[in-house]
Amino acid sequence: MENPIVGARRADWRSYAVALVITTAIFATALYASNYFNERRIAEIRTTQDNISIDILSLETQFDLLAEHSCRDISENSVLSKEIRPLAERLSYLETQRSVDESELLRLKRYYSLLQIKDLLLMKKVATKCSLKPVFILYFYSNEGDCKDCENQGYALTALSEKYPQLRIYSFDYNLDISALQTLLSINDVENKLPALSINDKMYYGFRNIQDIEKVLPQLATLDKAASSTRKSAR
Protein backbone atom coordinates (compact mmCIF):
# COMPACT_ATOMS: atom_id res chain seq x y z
CA MET A 1 0.00 0.00 0.00
CA GLU A 2 2.97 2.27 -0.18
CA ASN A 3 2.53 3.41 -3.73
CA PRO A 4 0.69 6.61 -4.28
CA ILE A 5 -1.87 6.51 -6.97
CA VAL A 6 -3.33 8.76 -9.57
CA GLY A 7 -5.69 8.08 -12.40
CA ALA A 8 -5.94 9.78 -15.73
CA ARG A 9 -9.08 11.72 -16.49
CA ARG A 10 -11.50 9.31 -18.05
CA ALA A 11 -14.93 7.84 -17.58
CA ASP A 12 -14.83 4.30 -16.18
CA TRP A 13 -17.91 3.05 -17.97
CA ARG A 14 -17.10 -0.54 -17.06
CA SER A 15 -16.99 0.31 -13.34
CA TYR A 16 -20.25 2.27 -13.67
CA ALA A 17 -21.90 -0.77 -15.21
CA VAL A 18 -20.45 -3.27 -12.70
CA ALA A 19 -21.51 -1.05 -9.79
CA LEU A 20 -24.99 -0.72 -11.30
CA VAL A 21 -25.35 -4.48 -11.63
CA ILE A 22 -24.16 -5.08 -8.05
CA THR A 23 -26.38 -2.34 -6.61
CA THR A 24 -29.37 -3.65 -8.52
CA ALA A 25 -28.60 -7.15 -7.23
CA ILE A 26 -28.42 -5.82 -3.64
CA PHE A 27 -31.75 -4.06 -4.11
CA ALA A 28 -33.34 -7.12 -5.66
CA THR A 29 -32.09 -9.30 -2.78
CA ALA A 30 -33.40 -6.87 -0.17
CA LEU A 31 -36.78 -6.69 -1.90
CA TYR A 32 -36.89 -10.46 -2.27
CA ALA A 33 -36.03 -10.99 1.41
CA SER A 34 -38.63 -8.46 2.49
CA ASN A 35 -41.19 -10.03 0.17
CA TYR A 36 -40.37 -13.48 1.55
CA PHE A 37 -41.04 -12.39 5.13
CA ASN A 38 -44.23 -10.62 4.12
CA GLU A 39 -45.39 -13.75 2.32
CA ARG A 40 -44.81 -15.68 5.50
CA ARG A 41 -46.85 -13.14 7.42
CA ILE A 42 -49.68 -13.40 4.93
CA ALA A 43 -49.52 -17.19 5.15
CA GLU A 44 -49.74 -16.89 8.93
CA ILE A 45 -52.82 -14.68 8.68
CA ARG A 46 -54.37 -16.99 6.15
CA THR A 47 -53.87 -19.95 8.47
CA THR A 48 -55.40 -18.03 11.36
CA GLN A 49 -58.38 -17.06 9.25
CA ASP A 50 -58.84 -20.65 8.12
CA ASN A 51 -58.80 -21.74 11.73
CA ILE A 52 -61.42 -19.15 12.60
CA SER A 53 -63.47 -20.27 9.63
CA ILE A 54 -63.32 -23.84 10.89
CA ASP A 55 -64.31 -22.64 14.37
CA ILE A 56 -67.33 -20.88 12.94
CA LEU A 57 -68.29 -23.80 10.78
CA SER A 58 -67.96 -26.04 13.80
CA LEU A 59 -70.20 -23.81 15.84
CA GLU A 60 -72.74 -23.55 13.05
CA THR A 61 -72.88 -27.30 12.97
CA GLN A 62 -73.13 -27.37 16.72
CA PHE A 63 -75.92 -24.82 16.48
CA ASP A 64 -77.82 -26.97 14.00
CA LEU A 65 -77.56 -29.79 16.47
CA LEU A 66 -78.80 -27.65 19.32
CA ALA A 67 -82.03 -29.50 19.39
CA GLU A 68 -80.09 -32.51 20.47
CA HIS A 69 -77.70 -30.69 22.80
CA SER A 70 -78.12 -28.26 25.64
CA CYS A 71 -76.90 -24.69 25.60
CA ARG A 72 -74.29 -25.62 28.18
CA ASP A 73 -72.05 -26.75 25.37
CA ILE A 74 -72.07 -23.33 23.79
CA SER A 75 -70.68 -20.37 25.59
CA GLU A 76 -70.20 -16.83 24.46
CA ASN A 77 -66.51 -17.36 24.02
CA SER A 78 -66.73 -20.33 21.76
CA VAL A 79 -67.42 -18.33 18.62
CA LEU A 80 -64.98 -15.49 18.41
CA SER A 81 -61.60 -17.07 18.62
CA LYS A 82 -58.97 -15.22 20.61
CA GLU A 83 -56.97 -15.16 17.45
CA ILE A 84 -59.36 -12.85 15.66
CA ARG A 85 -58.61 -9.75 17.75
CA PRO A 86 -54.93 -9.34 16.74
CA LEU A 87 -55.85 -10.05 13.13
CA ALA A 88 -57.07 -6.51 12.49
CA GLU A 89 -53.84 -5.07 13.89
CA ARG A 90 -51.78 -7.43 11.79
CA LEU A 91 -53.68 -6.55 8.66
CA SER A 92 -53.24 -2.83 9.41
CA TYR A 93 -49.52 -3.38 9.86
CA LEU A 94 -49.25 -5.18 6.52
CA GLU A 95 -50.94 -2.23 4.85
CA THR A 96 -47.90 -0.11 5.75
CA GLN A 97 -45.46 -2.55 4.15
CA ARG A 98 -44.30 -1.75 0.65
CA SER A 99 -43.70 -5.18 -0.80
CA VAL A 100 -46.99 -6.77 0.26
CA ASP A 101 -49.16 -8.05 -2.55
CA GLU A 102 -52.04 -5.56 -2.42
CA SER A 103 -54.60 -7.84 -4.03
CA GLU A 104 -53.73 -10.62 -1.60
CA LEU A 105 -54.01 -8.20 1.29
CA LEU A 106 -57.39 -6.99 0.07
CA ARG A 107 -58.54 -10.57 -0.22
CA LEU A 108 -57.50 -11.21 3.38
CA LYS A 109 -59.34 -8.09 4.54
CA ARG A 110 -62.51 -9.15 2.76
CA TYR A 111 -62.23 -12.61 4.23
CA TYR A 112 -61.69 -11.11 7.67
CA SER A 113 -64.77 -8.93 7.32
CA LEU A 114 -66.90 -11.87 6.23
CA LEU A 115 -65.72 -13.92 9.18
CA GLN A 116 -66.70 -11.10 11.50
CA ILE A 117 -70.17 -10.81 9.95
CA LYS A 118 -70.67 -14.56 10.19
CA ASP A 119 -69.54 -14.52 13.78
CA LEU A 120 -71.87 -11.64 14.55
CA LEU A 121 -74.90 -13.35 13.04
CA LEU A 122 -74.16 -16.62 14.68
CA MET A 123 -73.62 -14.95 18.03
CA LYS A 124 -77.00 -13.26 17.76
CA LYS A 125 -78.64 -16.61 17.02
CA VAL A 126 -76.89 -18.33 19.89
CA ALA A 127 -77.78 -15.47 22.20
CA THR A 128 -81.47 -15.79 21.34
CA LYS A 129 -81.57 -19.56 21.68
CA CYS A 130 -79.48 -19.80 24.80
CA SER A 131 -80.53 -16.57 26.50
CA LEU A 132 -77.01 -15.22 26.49
CA LYS A 133 -76.34 -11.49 26.62
CA PRO A 134 -73.29 -10.83 24.52
CA VAL A 135 -72.16 -7.22 24.44
CA PHE A 136 -70.85 -6.03 21.13
CA ILE A 137 -70.00 -2.91 19.17
CA LEU A 138 -69.91 -2.50 15.42
CA TYR A 139 -67.23 -0.07 14.37
CA PHE A 140 -67.10 1.42 10.88
CA TYR A 141 -63.99 3.22 9.74
CA SER A 142 -62.17 4.38 6.66
CA ASN A 143 -58.44 4.43 6.04
CA GLU A 144 -58.59 6.38 2.81
CA GLY A 145 -57.50 9.59 4.50
CA ASP A 146 -61.06 10.95 4.80
CA CYS A 147 -61.50 10.09 8.48
CA LYS A 148 -59.15 11.97 10.76
CA ASP A 149 -60.65 10.55 13.97
CA CYS A 150 -60.67 6.90 12.90
CA GLU A 151 -57.18 6.23 14.23
CA ASN A 152 -58.07 7.74 17.61
CA GLN A 153 -61.32 5.78 17.71
CA GLY A 154 -59.25 2.66 17.02
CA TYR A 155 -57.04 3.44 20.03
CA ALA A 156 -60.07 3.97 22.27
CA LEU A 157 -61.72 0.72 21.18
CA THR A 158 -58.49 -1.23 21.62
CA ALA A 159 -58.17 0.11 25.15
CA LEU A 160 -61.82 -0.74 25.79
CA SER A 161 -61.42 -4.31 24.58
CA GLU A 162 -58.40 -4.69 26.86
CA LYS A 163 -60.42 -3.38 29.77
CA TYR A 164 -63.36 -5.67 28.98
CA PRO A 165 -61.98 -8.84 27.41
CA GLN A 166 -65.44 -10.25 26.79
CA LEU A 167 -66.58 -7.23 24.82
CA ARG A 168 -66.91 -8.03 21.14
CA ILE A 169 -65.82 -5.33 18.75
CA TYR A 170 -66.41 -5.92 15.08
CA SER A 171 -64.56 -3.45 12.91
CA PHE A 172 -65.36 -2.89 9.26
CA ASP A 173 -63.68 -0.88 6.56
CA TYR A 174 -66.58 1.21 5.26
CA ASN A 175 -65.12 1.27 1.76
CA LEU A 176 -64.54 -2.45 1.40
CA ASP A 177 -66.40 -3.79 -1.59
CA ILE A 178 -68.25 -6.84 -0.24
CA SER A 179 -71.94 -7.26 -0.77
CA ALA A 180 -72.43 -8.73 2.71
CA LEU A 181 -70.84 -5.66 4.24
CA GLN A 182 -72.94 -3.36 2.09
CA THR A 183 -76.03 -5.17 3.31
CA LEU A 184 -74.87 -4.80 6.91
CA LEU A 185 -74.36 -1.07 6.32
CA SER A 186 -77.77 -0.79 4.80
CA ILE A 187 -79.51 -2.74 7.59
CA ASN A 188 -77.88 -0.52 10.20
CA ASP A 189 -78.48 2.65 8.15
CA VAL A 190 -74.83 3.58 8.45
CA GLU A 191 -74.14 6.97 6.93
CA ASN A 192 -70.78 8.00 5.55
CA LYS A 193 -69.91 10.08 8.63
CA LEU A 194 -66.99 8.18 10.06
CA PRO A 195 -65.98 6.96 12.55
CA ALA A 196 -69.33 5.35 13.26
CA LEU A 197 -70.31 3.02 16.08
CA SER A 198 -73.35 0.82 16.32
CA ILE A 199 -74.09 0.19 19.99
CA ASN A 200 -77.25 -1.58 21.05
CA ASP A 201 -78.64 -1.08 17.54
CA LYS A 202 -78.19 2.68 17.73
CA MET A 203 -75.72 4.57 15.55
CA TYR A 204 -73.20 7.05 16.98
CA TYR A 205 -71.17 9.22 14.64
CA GLY A 206 -67.89 10.96 15.37
CA PHE A 207 -65.22 10.15 17.92
CA ARG A 208 -66.40 8.62 21.19
CA ASN A 209 -63.99 8.18 24.04
CA ILE A 210 -63.99 5.32 26.53
CA GLN A 211 -66.19 7.13 29.01
CA ASP A 212 -68.74 8.01 26.30
CA ILE A 213 -69.01 4.38 25.29
CA GLU A 214 -69.27 3.15 28.86
CA LYS A 215 -72.12 5.60 29.36
CA VAL A 216 -74.15 4.38 26.38
CA LEU A 217 -73.33 0.74 27.02
CA PRO A 218 -74.21 0.08 30.68
CA GLN A 219 -74.00 -3.67 30.08
CA LEU A 220 -70.24 -3.26 30.13
CA ALA A 221 -70.34 -3.01 33.91
CA THR A 222 -72.29 -6.25 34.05
CA LEU A 223 -69.83 -7.82 31.69
CA ASP A 224 -67.00 -6.83 33.92
CA LYS A 225 -68.79 -8.23 36.98
CA ALA A 226 -69.68 -11.35 35.05
CA ALA A 227 -66.04 -11.85 34.14
CA SER A 228 -65.03 -11.45 37.79
CA SER A 229 -67.70 -13.89 39.00
CA THR A 230 -66.64 -16.43 36.37
CA ARG A 231 -63.11 -16.21 37.69
CA LYS A 232 -64.40 -16.60 41.24
CA SER A 233 -66.51 -19.64 40.42
CA ALA A 234 -63.66 -21.23 38.54
CA ARG A 235 -61.55 -21.33 41.72
Binding site: V6, S15, A33, E44, I210
Partner: protein, 413 residues
Protein backbone atom coordinates in the same frame (compact mmCIF):
# COMPACT_ATOMS: atom_id res chain seq x y z
CA UNK B 1 -40.85 4.37 8.45
CA UNK B 2 -43.59 4.93 5.92
CA UNK B 3 -42.50 3.46 2.64
CA UNK B 4 -45.48 3.95 0.43
CA UNK B 5 -46.20 6.90 -1.81
CA UNK B 6 -44.01 9.55 -3.35
CA UNK B 7 -41.94 10.04 -0.24
CA UNK B 8 -41.22 6.29 -0.12
CA UNK B 9 -40.18 6.37 -3.78
CA UNK B 10 -37.82 9.29 -3.14
CA UNK B 11 -36.28 7.49 -0.15
CA UNK B 12 -35.68 4.35 -2.21
CA UNK B 13 -34.24 6.37 -5.09
CA UNK B 14 -31.84 8.24 -2.81
CA UNK B 15 -30.89 5.01 -1.08
CA UNK B 16 -30.18 3.43 -4.44
CA UNK B 17 -27.95 6.35 -5.42
CA UNK B 18 -26.10 6.27 -2.07
CA UNK B 19 -25.55 2.53 -2.29
CA UNK B 20 -24.52 2.80 -5.92
CA UNK B 21 -21.86 5.37 -5.02
CA UNK B 22 -20.45 3.21 -2.23
CA UNK B 23 -20.43 0.15 -4.47
CA UNK B 24 -18.83 2.12 -7.28
CA UNK B 25 -15.98 3.23 -5.02
CA UNK B 26 -15.45 -0.31 -3.77
CA UNK B 27 -15.54 -1.77 -7.27
CA UNK B 28 -13.04 0.83 -8.45
CA UNK B 29 -10.84 0.07 -5.45
CA UNK B 30 -10.89 -3.66 -6.07
CA UNK B 31 -10.16 -3.19 -9.76
CA UNK B 32 -7.12 -1.10 -8.94
CA UNK B 33 -6.08 -3.41 -6.16
CA UNK B 34 -5.90 -6.08 -8.83
CA UNK B 35 -3.40 -3.86 -10.57
CA UNK B 36 -1.45 -3.68 -7.29
CA UNK B 37 -1.69 0.08 -7.20
CA UNK B 38 1.10 0.64 -9.65
CA UNK B 39 1.73 4.38 -9.92
CA UNK B 40 1.05 5.47 -13.45
CA UNK B 41 3.76 7.18 -15.40
CA UNK B 42 6.62 5.50 -13.53
CA UNK B 43 6.69 7.40 -10.26
CA UNK B 44 9.64 5.55 -8.75
CA UNK B 45 11.39 8.44 -7.04
CA UNK B 46 14.55 7.82 -9.00
CA UNK B 47 14.88 11.41 -10.26
CA UNK B 48 16.84 14.18 -8.54
CA UNK B 49 15.01 15.63 -5.55
CA UNK B 50 13.37 18.97 -6.20
CA UNK B 51 13.49 22.03 -3.96
CA UNK B 52 10.37 22.25 -1.82
CA UNK B 53 8.78 25.18 -0.02
CA UNK B 54 6.31 24.45 2.77
CA UNK B 55 4.13 27.45 3.46
CA UNK B 56 2.59 27.79 6.91
CA UNK B 57 -0.10 30.46 6.70
CA UNK B 58 -1.25 31.43 10.16
CA UNK B 59 -3.77 33.66 11.82
CA UNK B 60 -3.89 33.58 15.63
CA UNK B 61 -2.23 30.19 15.91
CA UNK B 62 0.16 30.86 18.79
CA UNK B 63 -0.81 27.62 20.56
CA UNK B 64 -0.08 25.22 17.71
CA UNK B 65 2.35 27.03 15.41
CA UNK B 66 5.56 25.85 17.12
CA UNK B 67 4.72 22.16 16.79
CA UNK B 68 3.78 22.72 13.13
CA UNK B 69 7.13 24.38 12.35
CA UNK B 70 9.00 21.72 14.34
CA UNK B 71 7.34 18.97 12.35
CA UNK B 72 8.43 20.63 9.08
CA UNK B 73 11.98 20.98 10.35
CA UNK B 74 11.90 17.30 11.33
CA UNK B 75 11.03 16.17 7.82
CA UNK B 76 13.48 13.64 6.39
CA UNK B 77 14.52 15.69 3.40
CA UNK B 78 17.80 17.36 2.44
CA UNK B 79 17.88 20.57 4.46
CA UNK B 80 19.27 22.62 1.59
CA UNK B 81 16.32 21.61 -0.59
CA UNK B 82 13.62 22.47 1.93
CA UNK B 83 12.36 25.81 3.14
CA UNK B 84 9.62 26.60 5.62
CA UNK B 85 7.82 29.85 4.90
CA UNK B 86 5.76 31.09 7.82
CA UNK B 87 3.31 33.80 6.80
CA UNK B 88 1.59 35.56 9.67
CA UNK B 89 -1.64 36.88 8.21
CA UNK B 90 -2.08 39.81 10.57
CA UNK B 91 -2.51 37.79 13.76
CA UNK B 92 -3.68 39.64 16.83
CA UNK B 93 -2.24 37.17 19.35
CA UNK B 94 1.34 35.99 19.91
CA UNK B 95 1.63 34.08 16.62
CA UNK B 96 4.31 36.39 15.20
CA UNK B 97 6.30 36.16 18.43
CA UNK B 98 6.26 32.35 18.21
CA UNK B 99 7.27 32.50 14.55
CA UNK B 100 10.14 34.92 15.27
CA UNK B 101 11.67 32.31 17.58
CA UNK B 102 12.52 30.35 14.43
CA UNK B 103 13.98 33.29 12.55
CA UNK B 104 17.55 32.51 11.56
CA UNK B 105 17.04 28.76 11.57
CA UNK B 106 18.26 27.18 8.33
CA UNK B 107 15.58 27.20 5.69
CA UNK B 108 13.01 29.15 7.75
CA UNK B 109 11.62 32.45 6.50
CA UNK B 110 9.10 34.55 8.35
CA UNK B 111 6.73 37.06 6.77
CA UNK B 112 4.16 39.29 8.34
CA UNK B 113 1.36 41.00 6.48
CA UNK B 114 -1.98 42.66 6.93
CA UNK B 115 -4.82 40.23 7.36
CA UNK B 116 -6.19 39.30 3.96
CA UNK B 117 -7.19 35.67 4.18
CA UNK B 118 -5.38 32.39 3.77
CA UNK B 119 -5.15 32.63 0.00
CA UNK B 120 -3.28 35.94 0.24
CA UNK B 121 -0.76 34.41 2.66
CA UNK B 122 -0.16 31.54 0.26
CA UNK B 123 0.20 33.90 -2.68
CA UNK B 124 2.77 35.96 -0.79
CA UNK B 125 4.87 32.83 -0.31
CA UNK B 126 4.34 31.95 -3.96
CA UNK B 127 5.93 35.22 -5.03
CA UNK B 128 8.81 34.81 -2.58
CA UNK B 129 9.88 31.24 -3.31
CA UNK B 130 11.97 29.78 -6.09
CA UNK B 131 11.28 26.19 -5.09
CA UNK B 132 10.07 23.63 -7.63
CA UNK B 133 7.30 22.40 -5.40
CA UNK B 134 5.18 24.41 -3.02
CA UNK B 135 3.03 23.00 -0.28
CA UNK B 136 0.72 24.32 2.35
CA UNK B 137 0.62 23.14 5.92
CA UNK B 138 -2.10 24.60 8.10
CA UNK B 139 -0.73 25.86 11.39
CA UNK B 140 -2.99 23.49 13.33
CA UNK B 141 -1.42 20.42 11.71
CA UNK B 142 1.78 18.45 12.05
CA UNK B 143 3.40 16.35 9.40
CA UNK B 144 5.00 12.91 9.75
CA UNK B 145 8.80 12.78 9.21
CA UNK B 146 8.51 10.65 6.04
CA UNK B 147 5.55 12.44 4.53
CA UNK B 148 7.48 14.55 2.06
CA UNK B 149 9.59 11.65 0.86
CA UNK B 150 6.39 9.75 0.16
CA UNK B 151 4.96 12.62 -1.85
CA UNK B 152 7.90 13.94 -3.85
CA UNK B 153 8.47 10.77 -5.93
CA UNK B 154 4.92 11.02 -7.22
CA UNK B 155 5.97 14.14 -9.12
CA UNK B 156 8.23 11.95 -11.28
CA UNK B 157 5.03 11.52 -13.22
CA UNK B 158 5.15 14.70 -15.32
CA UNK B 159 1.36 14.78 -15.61
CA UNK B 160 0.90 15.12 -11.85
CA UNK B 161 0.52 18.69 -10.68
CA UNK B 162 -0.48 18.15 -7.07
CA UNK B 163 -0.33 15.42 -4.45
CA UNK B 164 -2.54 15.18 -1.40
CA UNK B 165 -1.57 13.32 1.79
CA UNK B 166 -3.41 11.01 4.18
CA UNK B 167 -4.94 13.21 6.88
CA UNK B 168 -5.63 11.93 10.39
CA UNK B 169 -7.02 13.41 13.57
CA UNK B 170 -4.34 14.76 15.89
CA UNK B 171 -4.51 13.25 19.38
CA UNK B 172 -8.25 12.63 19.54
CA UNK B 173 -9.44 13.24 23.09
CA UNK B 174 -13.11 14.18 23.16
CA UNK B 175 -15.86 11.84 22.00
CA UNK B 176 -16.49 14.16 19.08
CA UNK B 177 -12.85 13.97 18.03
CA UNK B 178 -12.97 10.16 18.13
CA UNK B 179 -16.02 10.29 15.91
CA UNK B 180 -14.13 12.56 13.53
CA UNK B 181 -11.25 10.11 13.64
CA UNK B 182 -13.51 7.51 12.06
CA UNK B 183 -14.74 10.08 9.57
CA UNK B 184 -11.18 10.98 8.60
CA UNK B 185 -10.41 7.31 7.94
CA UNK B 186 -13.35 7.28 5.58
CA UNK B 187 -11.94 10.43 4.00
CA UNK B 188 -8.56 8.73 3.55
CA UNK B 189 -10.31 6.08 1.48
CA UNK B 190 -12.39 8.60 -0.45
CA UNK B 191 -9.43 10.86 -1.22
CA UNK B 192 -7.42 7.85 -2.31
CA UNK B 193 -10.14 6.61 -4.61
CA UNK B 194 -10.99 10.04 -6.01
CA UNK B 195 -7.35 10.48 -7.00
CA UNK B 196 -7.35 7.02 -8.53
CA UNK B 197 -10.40 8.00 -10.54
CA UNK B 198 -8.77 11.25 -11.63
CA UNK B 199 -11.49 13.08 -9.72
CA UNK B 200 -9.89 14.72 -6.67
CA UNK B 201 -11.68 18.01 -6.12
CA UNK B 202 -9.98 19.10 -2.91
CA UNK B 203 -6.30 19.69 -2.23
CA UNK B 204 -6.58 19.95 1.56
CA UNK B 205 -4.78 22.64 3.51
CA UNK B 206 -2.78 20.16 5.54
CA UNK B 207 0.21 19.32 3.37
CA UNK B 208 -1.02 19.20 -0.20
CA UNK B 209 2.02 19.78 -2.43
CA UNK B 210 1.87 21.49 -5.86
CA UNK B 211 4.18 22.15 -8.76
CA UNK B 212 5.04 25.79 -8.17
CA UNK B 213 4.95 26.64 -11.84
CA UNK B 214 1.49 25.15 -12.27
CA UNK B 215 0.14 27.27 -9.42
CA UNK B 216 1.74 30.35 -10.95
CA UNK B 217 0.34 29.50 -14.37
CA UNK B 218 -3.09 29.14 -12.84
CA UNK B 219 -2.78 32.57 -11.23
CA UNK B 220 -2.20 31.56 -7.61
CA UNK B 221 -4.74 30.86 -4.89
CA UNK B 222 -8.13 32.52 -4.74
CA UNK B 223 -10.54 33.16 -1.91
CA UNK B 224 -12.73 30.34 -3.24
CA UNK B 225 -15.63 31.08 -0.87
CA UNK B 226 -13.37 30.45 2.15
CA UNK B 227 -12.34 27.08 0.73
CA UNK B 228 -9.33 27.95 -1.39
CA UNK B 229 -8.21 24.29 -1.28
CA UNK B 230 -11.33 23.21 -3.11
CA UNK B 231 -11.28 26.06 -5.59
CA UNK B 232 -7.65 25.38 -6.46
CA UNK B 233 -8.34 21.67 -7.01
CA UNK B 234 -11.31 22.40 -9.25
CA UNK B 235 -9.31 24.97 -11.20
CA UNK B 236 -6.55 22.40 -11.67
CA UNK B 237 -9.08 19.84 -12.87
CA UNK B 238 -10.57 22.39 -15.25
CA UNK B 239 -7.08 23.04 -16.58
CA UNK B 240 -6.43 19.35 -17.19
CA UNK B 241 -3.95 18.82 -14.34
CA UNK B 242 -3.76 15.57 -12.44
CA UNK B 243 -4.06 15.44 -8.66
CA UNK B 244 -2.57 12.36 -7.00
CA UNK B 245 -2.83 11.03 -3.48
CA UNK B 246 -0.16 9.51 -1.25
CA UNK B 247 -2.13 8.09 1.70
CA UNK B 248 1.00 6.92 3.49
CA UNK B 249 2.20 10.53 3.73
CA UNK B 250 0.60 11.09 7.09
CA UNK B 251 -0.47 14.43 8.44
CA UNK B 252 -2.21 14.97 11.76
CA UNK B 253 -4.56 17.87 12.06
CA UNK B 254 -6.34 19.43 15.03
CA UNK B 255 -10.06 18.91 14.83
CA UNK B 256 -12.93 20.73 16.55
CA UNK B 257 -13.41 19.68 20.16
CA UNK B 258 -16.99 20.81 20.51
CA UNK B 259 -20.13 20.62 18.43
CA UNK B 260 -20.40 24.37 17.77
CA UNK B 261 -16.79 24.44 16.49
CA UNK B 262 -17.42 21.41 14.30
CA UNK B 263 -20.66 22.93 13.06
CA UNK B 264 -18.89 26.15 12.06
CA UNK B 265 -16.10 24.29 10.28
CA UNK B 266 -18.47 22.02 8.35
CA UNK B 267 -20.80 24.82 7.36
CA UNK B 268 -17.76 26.52 5.84
CA UNK B 269 -16.67 23.38 4.00
CA UNK B 270 -20.13 22.59 2.66
CA UNK B 271 -20.82 26.20 1.77
CA UNK B 272 -17.51 26.33 -0.09
CA UNK B 273 -18.30 23.12 -1.91
CA UNK B 274 -21.72 24.32 -3.00
CA UNK B 275 -20.52 27.73 -4.16
CA UNK B 276 -17.49 26.30 -5.94
CA UNK B 277 -19.62 23.60 -7.55
CA UNK B 278 -21.81 26.42 -8.81
CA UNK B 279 -18.78 28.30 -10.14
CA UNK B 280 -17.54 25.18 -11.90
CA UNK B 281 -20.97 23.93 -12.94
CA UNK B 282 -19.76 23.48 -16.51
CA UNK B 283 -18.07 20.31 -15.26
CA UNK B 284 -21.32 18.72 -14.09
CA UNK B 285 -22.33 15.91 -16.41
CA UNK B 286 -19.53 16.89 -18.79
CA UNK B 287 -17.79 13.87 -20.30
CA UNK B 288 -14.66 15.94 -20.91
CA UNK B 289 -13.99 15.82 -17.16
CA UNK B 290 -14.38 12.04 -16.96
CA UNK B 291 -15.45 10.52 -13.65
CA UNK B 292 -15.35 13.92 -11.94
CA UNK B 293 -17.95 15.45 -14.23
CA UNK B 294 -20.05 12.36 -14.80
CA UNK B 295 -20.08 10.76 -11.40
CA UNK B 296 -18.25 12.38 -8.51
CA UNK B 297 -19.44 15.99 -8.56
CA UNK B 298 -23.09 15.16 -9.39
CA UNK B 299 -23.23 12.49 -6.70
CA UNK B 300 -21.52 14.74 -4.15
CA UNK B 301 -24.24 17.32 -4.79
CA UNK B 302 -26.98 14.70 -4.59
CA UNK B 303 -25.52 13.49 -1.28
CA UNK B 304 -26.00 16.97 0.20
CA UNK B 305 -29.66 16.94 -0.79
CA UNK B 306 -30.08 13.30 0.26
CA UNK B 307 -28.62 13.97 3.71
CA UNK B 308 -31.06 16.80 4.29
CA UNK B 309 -34.02 14.86 2.89
CA UNK B 310 -33.29 11.74 4.99
CA UNK B 311 -32.96 13.87 8.09
CA UNK B 312 -36.21 15.75 7.54
CA UNK B 313 -37.98 12.51 6.68
CA UNK B 314 -36.77 10.70 9.81
CA UNK B 315 -37.39 13.73 12.02
CA UNK B 316 -40.91 14.13 10.67
CA UNK B 317 -41.57 10.40 11.14
CA UNK B 318 -40.48 10.47 14.78
CA UNK B 319 -42.40 13.67 15.50
CA UNK B 320 -45.53 12.05 14.07
CA UNK B 321 -44.93 8.97 16.18
CA UNK B 322 -44.47 11.11 19.28
CA UNK B 323 -47.65 13.03 18.52
CA UNK B 324 -49.55 9.75 18.04
CA UNK B 325 -48.15 8.39 21.27
CA UNK B 326 -49.21 11.44 23.26
CA UNK B 327 -52.64 11.33 21.65
CA UNK B 328 -52.98 7.64 22.39
CA UNK B 329 -52.02 8.11 26.01
CA UNK B 330 -54.56 10.92 26.28
CA UNK B 331 -57.28 8.73 24.77
CA UNK B 332 -56.56 5.47 26.56
CA UNK B 333 -55.02 6.84 29.74
CA UNK B 334 -52.22 4.30 29.54
CA UNK B 335 -48.81 3.94 27.95
CA UNK B 336 -49.09 1.39 25.12
CA UNK B 337 -46.96 -1.63 25.81
CA UNK B 338 -44.75 -2.61 22.87
CA UNK B 339 -45.69 -5.81 21.11
CA UNK B 340 -43.28 -8.72 21.51
CA UNK B 341 -44.97 -10.53 18.65
CA UNK B 342 -42.37 -11.65 16.08
CA UNK B 343 -44.92 -10.74 13.45
CA UNK B 344 -44.09 -7.06 13.95
CA UNK B 345 -40.31 -7.30 13.52
CA UNK B 346 -39.50 -4.86 10.77
CA UNK B 347 -38.35 -6.79 7.75
CA UNK B 348 -38.94 -4.10 5.17
CA UNK B 349 -36.55 -3.80 2.24
CA UNK B 350 -35.76 -0.27 3.39
CA UNK B 351 -34.21 -1.51 6.62
CA UNK B 352 -32.29 -4.27 4.86
CA UNK B 353 -30.86 -1.64 2.53
CA UNK B 354 -29.99 0.72 5.39
CA UNK B 355 -28.14 -2.14 7.13
CA UNK B 356 -26.25 -2.94 3.92
CA UNK B 357 -25.33 0.73 3.44
CA UNK B 358 -24.02 0.89 7.02
CA UNK B 359 -22.03 -2.32 6.50
CA UNK B 360 -20.49 -0.84 3.35
CA UNK B 361 -19.52 2.34 5.22
CA UNK B 362 -17.83 0.17 7.82
CA UNK B 363 -15.92 -1.61 5.07
CA UNK B 364 -14.85 1.74 3.59
CA UNK B 365 -13.68 3.02 7.00
CA UNK B 366 -11.66 -0.18 7.57
CA UNK B 367 -10.18 0.13 4.09
CA UNK B 368 -9.30 3.76 4.77
CA UNK B 369 -7.64 2.73 8.01
CA UNK B 370 -5.68 0.06 6.16
CA UNK B 371 -4.63 2.40 3.37
CA UNK B 372 -3.66 5.18 5.74
CA UNK B 373 -2.09 3.36 8.65
CA UNK B 374 -1.83 -0.30 7.71
CA UNK B 375 -4.27 -1.18 10.51
CA UNK B 376 -7.27 -3.23 9.55
CA UNK B 377 -9.36 -2.39 12.59
CA UNK B 378 -11.57 0.70 12.45
CA UNK B 379 -11.00 3.50 14.98
CA UNK B 380 -12.80 3.33 18.32
CA UNK B 381 -15.13 6.15 17.37
CA UNK B 382 -16.57 4.18 14.44
CA UNK B 383 -19.78 2.92 16.15
CA UNK B 384 -20.61 6.44 17.31
CA UNK B 385 -19.82 7.77 13.85
CA UNK B 386 -22.21 5.29 12.26
CA UNK B 387 -24.94 5.81 14.85
CA UNK B 388 -24.95 9.58 15.25
CA UNK B 389 -23.10 11.31 12.47
CA UNK B 390 -25.89 11.00 9.96
CA UNK B 391 -28.07 12.94 12.41
CA UNK B 392 -25.47 15.67 12.89
CA UNK B 393 -24.44 16.13 9.27
CA UNK B 394 -27.81 17.47 8.05
CA UNK B 395 -27.55 20.32 10.57
CA UNK B 396 -24.61 21.89 8.78
CA UNK B 397 -25.74 20.70 5.35
CA UNK B 398 -29.02 22.54 5.79
CA UNK B 399 -27.33 25.67 7.13
CA UNK B 400 -24.76 25.64 4.33
CA UNK B 401 -27.44 25.21 1.66
CA UNK B 402 -29.39 28.11 3.14
CA UNK B 403 -26.29 30.30 3.21
CA UNK B 404 -25.26 29.26 -0.29
CA UNK B 405 -28.71 30.10 -1.62
CA UNK B 406 -28.62 33.53 -0.05
CA UNK B 407 -24.87 33.97 -0.60
CA UNK B 408 -24.34 35.05 2.99
CA UNK B 409 -20.69 34.03 3.11
CA UNK B 410 -19.09 32.09 5.97
CA UNK B 411 -16.58 32.77 8.68
CA UNK B 412 -13.39 30.85 9.24
CA UNK B 413 -13.92 30.63 12.99
Amino acid sequence: MPEIGISGDIIYTLLFISLYFEVFLLVSFLERRAERFRPQGGGNGAGALPRVAIVIPCFNEERTLASTIESVLALRYPRELLEAIVVDDGSTDGTLRVAKQYEGREGVRIFHKENGGKHTALNLALTETTADLIGCLDADSTVGPDALMRIVPVFDNKDVSAVTPGIHVKNPKTMLQHVQDAEYNLSVFNRFMLAALGSAFITPGPFSIFRTQTVRDLGGWRHGHSTEDMEMALRMQAGGHLIANAPSATVHTSTPRTLPELFRQRVRWTYGFLRNALDYRFMLGNRAYGNLGLMILPLALVSVGAGIYFFIHVLWYWLERLYDLILRIQITGAFPHPSLDLFYINTSALWFLVYIAIALILVLICTGSWIGTGKRMPPVGTPLFILFYSFLTPLWLGTAVFRALFKTGVEWR
